[in-house]
């Protein structure tokens, strides 16, 4: 009767502890079953991704820019400057003559702001989620999800298609107005899928949300918040001269602070690293 397991004499000799490491490697290569196994000592270190400008000098100084082939996340509450950073990144990418896509989950993009930020609109594919017809719409017995959930479902499917299509320099998912509870329901598997899809490509995948939702899939995580001066609104107001009209008090801009929460590309700093910048107000005149 043959034994269930057999130990080959060759393998036993290979794993003999007294052999030299180089000799062991040579012997390993001769074993057919282990021929395809790469020893850990010969594994190549993954090259660091190419970094591209985010369009804001302070963010570039803080994080080194946005990494290609990685998922980057920018989070913050309302009026924390997330959309300003998003538009700046889109503008920088289109200035590099790259084709960009914006998956607008809540249909919140302002065309005038985008143009003022310098986005070349011809190179920007804008996908406004929330519309369209669903297959389950004709079945009344199926419980229809909330509009947020439906938009999120569409955003996930659209992002999948965009990443599979390839060729985009930057794909941005805007979850800025999606509540955190809804955003957390997005399956982690989707984020892993996005990360794997974008990894071998030169695409920057940028997610804008209220709270971090991609978790460990994000290679770069920056939290934005309003600057401390925001509470004192006088600093954002450009008060015109006394001779001007009474209504000349206008919003001049926002003071934004960004904090680097996670970066796979560098060691975690001992203390928080922040950067501050200001935004300029846009008004059609």
């Amino acid at each position: 009767m043959s034994p269930l397991f057999s130990t080959q004499a060759g393998c036993a000799a290979v794993f003999a502890p007294r052999k030299e490491p180089a000799l062991v490697l040579k012997r390993l290569a001769t074993v057919p079953k282990l021929a395809s196994v790469t020893p850990a000592s010969q594994l190549e270190v993954r090259s660091s991704p190419e970094m591209v400008s985010s369009g804001i000098r302070e963010i570039d100084a803080l994080a080194g820019g946005l990494p290609r082939g990685c998922l980057s996340e920018i989070c913050g509450s309302a009026s924390s400057g997330r959309t300003s950073v998003l538009l700046a990144a889109l503008a920088a990418a289109t200035r590099r003559e790259e084709v960009c896509a914006l998956v607008d989950t809540t249909d919140a993009l302002d065309a005038i702001s985008a143009a003022a930020a310098g986005v070349e609109l011809e190179r920007l594919l804008w996908i406004r989620c929330g519309g369209g017809r669903r297959a389950s719409d004709n079945r009344p017995e199926v419980r229809r999800p909330t509009s947020d959930a439906r938009s999120l479902e569409q955003a996930l499917r659209v992002t999948d298609l965009l990443l599979q299509s390839g060729g985009f320099g930057l794909v941005a998912i805007d979850l800025g107005d999606v509540s955190h509870s809804e955003a957390r329901r997005m399956p982690l598997a989707s984020w892993f899928r996005f990360q794997r899809a974008v990894e071998p490509t030169p695409t920057v995948l940028l997610v804008v949300a209220q709270e971090p939702c991609a978790q460990t899939c994000a290679s770069l995580l920056i939290r934005l918040q309003s600057g401390k001066k925001l509470s004192a609104f006088s600093c954002q107001l450009s008060v015109q001269s006394e001779l001007g009209p009474a209504h000349a008090q206008l919003l001049d801009g926002l003071q934004i602070e960004g904090e680097l929460l996670r970066s796979r590309l560098q060691r975690k700093p001992a203390q928080s690293v922040t950067a501050a910048f200001a935004t300029k107000a846009v008004r059609v005149s």
Partner: protein, 575 residues
């Protein structure tokens, strides 16, 4: 004795009397190595498709090529056999038999004659000829003549050209005989008489054509009186006809007899009558039974698209616009209640009388039937015909193919084919109006933009700019660097109840957005604007920028008062 050498793509020049069979056609070249020196001027080729009505149907249904097929003509119950393929003839089917007579043949496939498919097949044949020579004569149903003069430097020696013509016809779904001779009539006779590919050297026409039966001379003629006379005389082949004395033949048959004899000798000469075929690429199929599902429709569309793309490819063209015309049957008669085709609204319904039209416009010229099929499928899924389909007609607008040169250092951009498919799929998810690129309109009206078709490669190149323009552009870029205070639009805007004090908002409550409620910490404005007052859609509004204290911090909103209706709305938030 016939001196001949059989060539195939694998046979070497100089071999004698080898008979090789290619995949779908036979090549017989009756010449030796020495004879090839004689082929100095053989400028005409004839492409002939035997059993053309059957071949036209087999082009649409290539699976039937291995079976006996016959084509019926006429109205039931008086249908008669119009044509049959070789296997059908071997099974005993001949033209003129009634449908009742041939129904005894169990393996015989019967199809109704389709003039649409015959026209498409003939157009494909002309495309095949036009892809080699600009001088092409349309010599009737399934026969095309082309002038090969001057083509040898381009396409190689004449036997190779003949082989390539036959192969191109095969790619277009037609098994054709190709004959090359020094005059058009000899080429036509050889194509009608010999199957496969034949090249007749100059001066040997009578010798090569001599073995053909005299019936070849009367293939396209309705009056067979002369044929009967020749048969009574015992003339069975062209060699016998060519050997008759001229004067005696003229005395008995007149000029027509002389003409036939010249044809038999291969020495008739005439000029080619070239036609200019319009660049119309259209394929159609009439269905015996109405289609009620989109899957079999996709199957048929795939065949039509492959034929269409093969024709375009033969003419070195591509297409940027596809038109699909579906003739619809009667819904109540042809389809049950569980039919998956749904009534469509708006654009697709062209006429009340059952025609359904869809157009597919592409940003760049493409020539990939798979891409076209997927795009048509996505389009038909979004816009179903609404009734059973009885006829499919697909046409393409021919344009020059895209000529682009890739660069190593160009920024990444999506491939046009993939991008089109991706856009179509995304449009199926979010709706066709919700995907595209933005274009700002020349207006101050809120939401003054429109969605355009996304085509990043279509951007027109700017003319050469001078230094001043470049410097001003650089200055504008530098000015754009950095962040602007972006607005996030609420679509639709939320109505709000606003309390004013001394003309300024001090309190706001927005029922649809619970977080926008409370005392206004700060308000800047108003920014007044108006426009289009000369039209019915005039607008006037005051904009305020307000700050509210929320749980997450201070949030800035844009508050708008419509001066025409007096309503307050929260238009968006600054972010």
């Amino acid at each position: 004795m016939t001196r001949g050498v059989l060539f195939s793509p694998l046979a070497r020049a100089g071999r004698r009397r080898h008979k090789l069979r290619a995949d779908s056609w036979r090549l017989r070249v009756f010449l030796t190595t020495d004879d090839r020196r004689l082929i100095t001027e053989m400028p005409f080729a004839c492409i002939f498709v035997s059993d053309f009505p059957v071949e036209a149907l087999l082009r649409a249904e290539p699976d039937l090529r291995s079976q006996a097929v016959a084509v019926l003509e006429g109205k039931a119950p008086l249908q008669k056999i119009f044509a049959a393929n070789e296997k059908g003839r071997r099974a005993g089917v001949s033209p003129g038999m009634t449908k009742l007579q041939v129904e005894a043949c169990t393996d015989l496939v019967l199809r109704a004659r389709s003039s649409l498919q015959e026209a498409a097949a003939h157009a494909a044949l002309l495309d095949c000829a036009q892809s080699f020579s600009p001088r092409v004569e349309d010599a009737g149903c399934g026969t095309v003549l082309l002038d090969l003069a001057g083509l040898e430097p381009l396409f190689g020696p004449l036997p190779k050209i003949a082989r390539d013509v036959a192969r191109r016809a095969c790619d277009l779904g037609l098994e054709a005989n190709v004959a090359v001779a020094s005059n058009p009539d000899a080429a036509v006779l050889a194509a009608h008489g010999f199957s496969g590919v034949i090249v007749i050297p100059e001066g040997r026409e009578a010798e090569q054509l001599g073995s053909l039966p005299v019936e070849v001379l009367f293939m396209n003629e309705e009056s067979l009186q002369l044929l009967e006379i020749l048969e009574r005389w015992g003339i069975r082949n062209l060699r016998a006809l060519a050997a008759l004395p001229d004067v005696a033949l003229s005395e008995r048959l007149g000029q027509e007899g002389i003409r036939l004899q010249q044809l038999a000798r291969g020495c008739a000469s005439r000029s080619l009558v070239p036609v200019e075929t319009p660049l119309v690429f259209e394929e159609a199929v009439e269905l015996e039974y109405p289609l009620i599902l989109l899957e079999p429709l996709a199957f048929l569309l795939s065949r039509l698209l492959e034929q269409l793309c093969a024709r375009l490819s033969a003419r070195a063209l591509a297409t940027q616009e596809l038109h699909l015309d579906l003739t619809l049957g009667n819904t109540t008669d042809d389809v049950g209640t569980d039919a998956p085709v749904r009534p469509s609204s708006g654009q697709g319904r062209a006429q009340a009388r059952q025609t359904f039209h869809r157009s597919l416009r592409l940003p760049v010229p493409l020539l990939d039937p798979k891409v076209f099929l997927k795009l048509l499928q996505l389009d038909l899924n979004a816009h179903p015909p609404g009734a059973p389909i009885v006829k499919i007609c697909l046409s393409a607008e021919a344009v020059r193919p895209r000529a682009t040169q890739g660069g190593l250092f160009l920024p990444p951009s999506p491939e046009p084919e993939k991008l089109e498919l991706t856009l179509a799929r995304i449009a199926g998810i979010v709706g066709p109006n919700n995907v595209g690129s933005l274009q700002l309109l020349d207006t101050h009206r809120p939401e003054g933009f429109r969605m355009n078709r996304f085509a990043p490669g279509q951007r027109q190149k700017q003319p050469a700019r001078n230094e001043n323009d470049k410097s001003s552009e650089d200055a504008a870029r530098k000015q754009n660097e950095g962040a602007v205070t972006a607005l996030r639009i609420f679509r639709p805007p939320g109505r709000a109840a606003v309390t004013l004090r001394e003309g300024r908002p001090v309190h706001i409550a927005c029922p649809k957005r619970k977080e926008i409620c409370g005392e206004i910490l700060w308000a800047a404005g108003p920014w007044r604007s108006s426009g289009d007052w000369w039209e019915q859609e005039g607008w006037a509004r005051d904009e305020w920028d307000i700050a509210l204290q929320e749980a997450t911090g201070i949030t800035l909103y844009r508050l708008v008062r419509d001066l025409l209706s007096g309503q307050w709305q929260v238009e968006g938030s600054y972010d």
